[in-house]
Amino acid sequence: MGMYLTIASRNLRQGGRRTVLLMLALALVTGLLVFLLALSRGVNVSMTRAATTLSAGHVNVAGFYKATPEDAAPIIQGVAAIKKIAVENTPNLDYALDRHRGWAKVVSETSSVWCGLHGIDVREEKALFETITLAHQDAYVEGGRHAVIGDAQRLSEPDTILLFASQAKRLGVQVGDQLTLRTETLRGQSNTADVTVVAVAEDLGLMSSWAAFLPKQTILKLYGLKPDTSGAVQLYLKDIDEAPAVMAHLREVFADAGYALMDHDPQPFFMKFETVIGQDWTGQKLDLTIWRDEVSFLTWVLTAIDTVSYLLIAILAILIAIGIMNALYIAVRERTQEVGTLRAIGMGRRQVLGMFVLEALLLGLVATTAGATLSAIGALIIDWIAVPIPWPAAQAIFMNDTIRLVVEPAHLAAAIVAFTFVTGISALWPAMRAARLPPITAIHQTE
């Protein structure tokens, strides 16, 4: 093995322009793969952050209430008891809170938007206020000041609202302005409430364009609900990856405690109205979900990024494979005498094959490691300097207003292994040609 490595590494070092070009190409493609994986992971992280901040806990205990078989409200009653059971039965719980859910038209003097309402208790929402950043006024008001106006803590006062910058811009409002919320109650009558804008936060990607936060009391009033109701108990775990297991466990716990449960349906609650309305039960059923279910309508973004990435990488991999085959084919032709000599002094066919494949693998390993490492460093730097994404549409898709790149060591390793493997496989055919060279070529070539 040592000898083959010596031969391979020295041949590579003497490889000249062809080898250098090939290694550059390999390094580039591996680097590109690492970059795209970091981008996909970055979007994933942004999405997780936005989802778990705005619309869901890691695990959610929500539900529907049906007064008649024909309607459905996203409400749970007796929320204090439900929350107590959830908290007591969740291992490694970080914190828990509950939010009201609503859907209303937010009307300003000039415009209106439909918006998901989250009724919160400011005292429970420390994490929310750590994650969102209040926007500078000039981000949503033409000619506004480059300073934060407003205070999210004022959501503790009744009839207040926190909007996101894109909504404030569309509604043409700023902190201190009045808005009217218009909604329909369970009984089909239209209700309104006036609220004051107390804070405007920076956008958190696609989801923040239809989310707003307001105090629980305002929602209770808007929908005419009793105090011990809520939308969902949101459980935040120390390890988000435990969410599916925790959900499964809590389903058993709640079933044992006598609660009626809906079958697990991995969709956000607002997609479930149609199915629930069609079912002929009345009263309350709990619906347990994990965060991913509540943003499943957004995972297409990840799928799209991954699909494009893999397609691109597959095409490049094929080109690389052809390049390697070609380069090695030429190398074999140039080295027929050497191969013949080795065969003549007793090297077997399999060893010749191994020698060329090893050489390719070594080339692959060096080039891909270099490419992956450089790309990872580049990605870390880009992430660190927080390059802004200039277009709102792109911000929405990438769930962030700066380019988020998250480099996973496992992705680095996978990219290196994958392209080294491609190199090795591509070397097989030229290596097989080399292995079939008869020993007599040691002599022929010299004449």
């Binding site: 000898m3 010596t6 031969i7 050497e338 003549a344 007793g346 020993p439 010299t446």
Partner: protein, 247 residues
């Protein structure tokens, strides 16, 4: 053939029986060897002579299992090479035969030590220390100790030929083929190479078969086979002229 009726000394180590070799050349075939019968005894020191194109290289290639005959049989240590599988031929080349090419054919990217070590690594079985001892000993024998870490392109022709000889001999093969081992060397260096081969032949009883144009080199052989046009025209002891008998 389960019993040995002959003593090992009496059995020829190399046997060519009615060997012909044709090379295709376009639509023609070039006959390089035309019916060679030759038996070579173990421990012999035999020169193949003849004009250019007479078939010397072809003959050595066949004995070295680097090529196969068109007709007839080549037997090495009793085994007919045409009947062996590729892996068996490889093993034969690796363990029994040593080949010294006219053009040296060293591996350019390896240094002197590594070139000589190569066949031992291919054979396997020796410990690292034992292998390195054997290589160092061989390097000493061909007088290249100062050049141990040099690459072939840093060596003179004579030095390269000595590396090639060391590489062929390091596995202690039973038979060594050398195709014009002195043709690319000046007469002084050539003489030293022949002396080295003679020494190894004498000490280890290695069978040497070498081709040459050089009458002086022929005179060192114990047996001289002359080829003309692919046929053996004479097979005799060489004329002793230059070197007195003594080694």
């Amino acid at each position: 053939m389960t019993t040995h009726t002959e003593t090992p000394e009496a059995a020829p180590i190399v046997e060519l029986i009615g060997v012909t070799k044709d090379y295709p050349l376009g639509k023609l075939t070039v006959p390089a060897l035309r019916g060679i019968d030759l038996a070579i005894a173990r421990g012999d020191f035999i020169a193949i002579a003849g004009p250019s194109g007479s078939g010397k290289t072809t003959l050595l290639n066949l004995v070295g299992c680097v090529d196969v005959p068109t007709a007839g049989a080549v037997r090495i240590g009793g085994q007919t090479t045409g009947e062996l599988k590729e892996t068996q031929l490889t093993s034969l080349r690796l363990h029994k035969l040593g080949f010294i090419f006219q053009t040296f054919n060293l591996v350019g990217v390896l240094n002197v030590f590594q070139n000589i070590e190569l066949p031992l690594l291919l054979q396997g079985g020796l410990s690292k220390t034992e292998r390195e001892r054997r290589v160092a000993e061989m390097i000493e024998k061909v007088d290249l100790t100062p050049q141990t870490r040099q690459r072939p392109n840093e060596l003179s022709g004579g030095q390269r030929q000595r590396v090639a000889i060391a590489r062929a001999l390091v596995t202690r093969p039973a038979i060594v083929m050398a195709d014009e081992p002195t043709a690319n060397l000046d007469s002084g260096t050539g003489g030293a190479i022949i002396e080295l081969m003679k020494e190894i032949n004498r000490v280890d009883h290695t069978t040497f078969i070498f081709s040459t144009h050089d009458a002086h080199v022929m005179s060192h052989a114990r047996r001289l086979v002359e080829l003309v046009d692919g046929r053996i025209v004479s097979d005799r002891a060489p004329d002793r002229q230059a070197q007195p008998e003594g080694a």
